[in-house]
């Protein structure tokens, strides 16, 4: 019970602090500092260098993309020769003769020695 009362008291004190805040004056030179910032904004060129650079980068990217797309669409499709392969061609391509068996022969000779 006492704990609850203490908590309620603390809550009220915390909420009371909101009403007890004293309005304070703006810091020294506040107007001057603010006016300096306003002047700096006023003197800023309409288009700054950084904005120009960003725009240039975007433009270059767009041009590159456009060129790539154009290149892809305009270049003729690669002509693949029409080859008719028979099963015999395939068999000839993969004959035992293609297999290099030198390493096996060497191994056998070495083991005999």
């Amino acid at each position: 019970m006492e704990m609850n009362n203490n908590i309620e008291r603390e809550i009220e004190r915390s909420l009371e602090t909101a009403r007890g805040i004293t309005p304070i004056n703006a810091p020294a030179q506040f107007t001057e500092k603010t006016m300096q910032r306003i002047k700096a904004v006023k003197e800023e060129p309409f288009i700054s260098v950084s904005v120009l650079l960003k725009a240039a980068a975007v433009l270059i990217l767009i041009c590159l993309n456009a060129y790539t797309i154009k290149y892809v669409f305009e270049s003729p499709a690669p002509q693949t020769p029409t080859v008719t392969a028979t099963i015999d061609d395939l068999a000839n391509d993969y004959t035992v003769a293609d297999v290099n068996t030198d390493w096996l022969n060497n191994k056998i000779t070495k083991s005999h020695e």
Binding site: E10, G20, P23, I24, A26, F30
Partner: protein
Amino acid sequence: MLIGYSMPLEIDISALRNKDEDAFRLLVDNFGKSIFNLCLGIVPIAEDAEDISQEVFVEAFKSIHTFREGAHIKTWLYRIAINKCYDHLKFTKRKKRFALLQPLFNKDEEPIEIPSNFQHPGIVLENKEHAKVLYAALDTLPENQNTAFVLYEMQGMNYKEISETMSVSISSVEALLFRARAALRKKLHQYYYNSTSFKK
């Protein structure tokens, strides 16, 4: 066109639209203090609040052409300031890096974190510890509840001014304040309950 809004000096809106430096100087002179205090209400670090306040006027200078004829300049500046403050908080807070994951978790369960760099010059020393806890609890509230609470309790604005600043109806302001207070009580209760149990 001249507009005066709870300020002794009048602001020449057409001169502001023409980006007249003297008109802006007058604007900063007139509203610098209230904007700075508002920023301190949301970002309780004096240097950051000063920087944000200056940014508010720079933003006002850049976008004065968007200022609606007949609107209150103070309300407009307040809106810019609130947006700038939350942008700053989002940028600086580490936990906000995982903002995408936040909706997956229940925000009510989020424990309050006491800020280590708290330095609000408008709070007397004896209230500082309680204020720290309050700010930490405020930090866990949704932005609109936080804003309504700061404007009403810290800035002393009335419902009508808050509704204009936040572009919501007066009944919405009442609802936001009700929810903000309820959520704050819950968070503070959790915090003090845990710290009291821990001390025991």
